[in-house]
Point group: C2
Chain length 201, copies 2
Amino acid sequence: MKENPQATAGATGRSQGARKSREIFDATLDLLADQGYDGLTVEGVALRAGVNKTTLYRHWPTKGALVRAALIGAGRLELDVPDTGSLRGDLEALVRQVVSLLTAPPASDVVVAALGAATRAPELADAAADFFADRLVREQAVFDRAAARGELPADVDPALVMDLLAGAVWLRVVLRRRPLEPDYPARAVAAVLHGTAPNAG
Amino acid sequence: MKENPQATAGATGRSQGARKSREIFDATLDLLADQGYDGLTVEGVALRAGVNKTTLYRHWPTKGALVRAALIGAGRLELDVPDTGSLRGDLEALVRQVVSLLTAPPASDVVVAALGAATRAPELADAAADFFADRLVREQAVFDRAAARGELPADVDPALVMDLLAGAVWLRVVLRRRPLEPDYPARAVAAVLHGTAPNAG
């Protein structure tokens, strides 16, 4: 195969850029978890990630823009879109990812701090809303595959299904602070797919 | 009927005490919404409610205890346990109350600020958890009546049902910041009662 130095250099450049972005996003989330949104500064992120703060400002002109990019781009918050072959299996895998995101440090420290603080900082609230919108776009694949398998009625709203499932975990873990039984994801998914009270009027 | 002055005086005393508590709880929630949990002080509440701060400390020895009492005892956060005659009607009414709690000021300012901040203040997190535990105890009546009417299978977990429904509204309104369509409560309740994908494996 003929070598293409330019393409190789380009790929290396992109790869280095991606690695650097990853370090910047990690630094942003670490500081967010440590110091809260109010305490976070672009200067602090630059110092921690070992980059020039003008570089940061060039890519992300505000603190809100940087946090938004970090929430969506950081590897530790990445959504692993499941493909288990059934809607039930895929939704259970998604719920387990939410559980892990909200209970397993270090991701849980960041997520709970960032999303909790979103209620008081409008900029951060926008970043959090974008984070959820981005996840929903990627979760759509689960519902498309279920529809193709004939598992999903045409009138089902994926956003409602994910609101119910992810919201339940959030409420249980973050607000109720109740332990989450190992069978909780399966029970929650069964409830949303098959209902809890078929005889109810 | 023979008058009993002492009982009358006692009832008046209790009623005045209840009114005073209500004012103290209102002042606590107002300041919590304005200044956040960190900015809230027992002295500030005493000043706003027109009571002596030693009186406050006698009843609620810590800021956390005062906030916990205010979240559970304040009239504006009170749960109106519905009794519509059907599980569907009762759950829809409960969901509409959650919607109102999270979207209609002034209650929504307090609730969103207090529960959001719970992710960073352990004392406040305990108060928020008690708030939800107290609501679940009162919501149990809805499930007891549904079971008595034969609407509810014996293995249904009311906490899971309320996690799904209240969590969905929280996620949609506070975290996703998406508008809530008027039919959302009915759709969410239908999903949890009757399921969304009966053919899913």
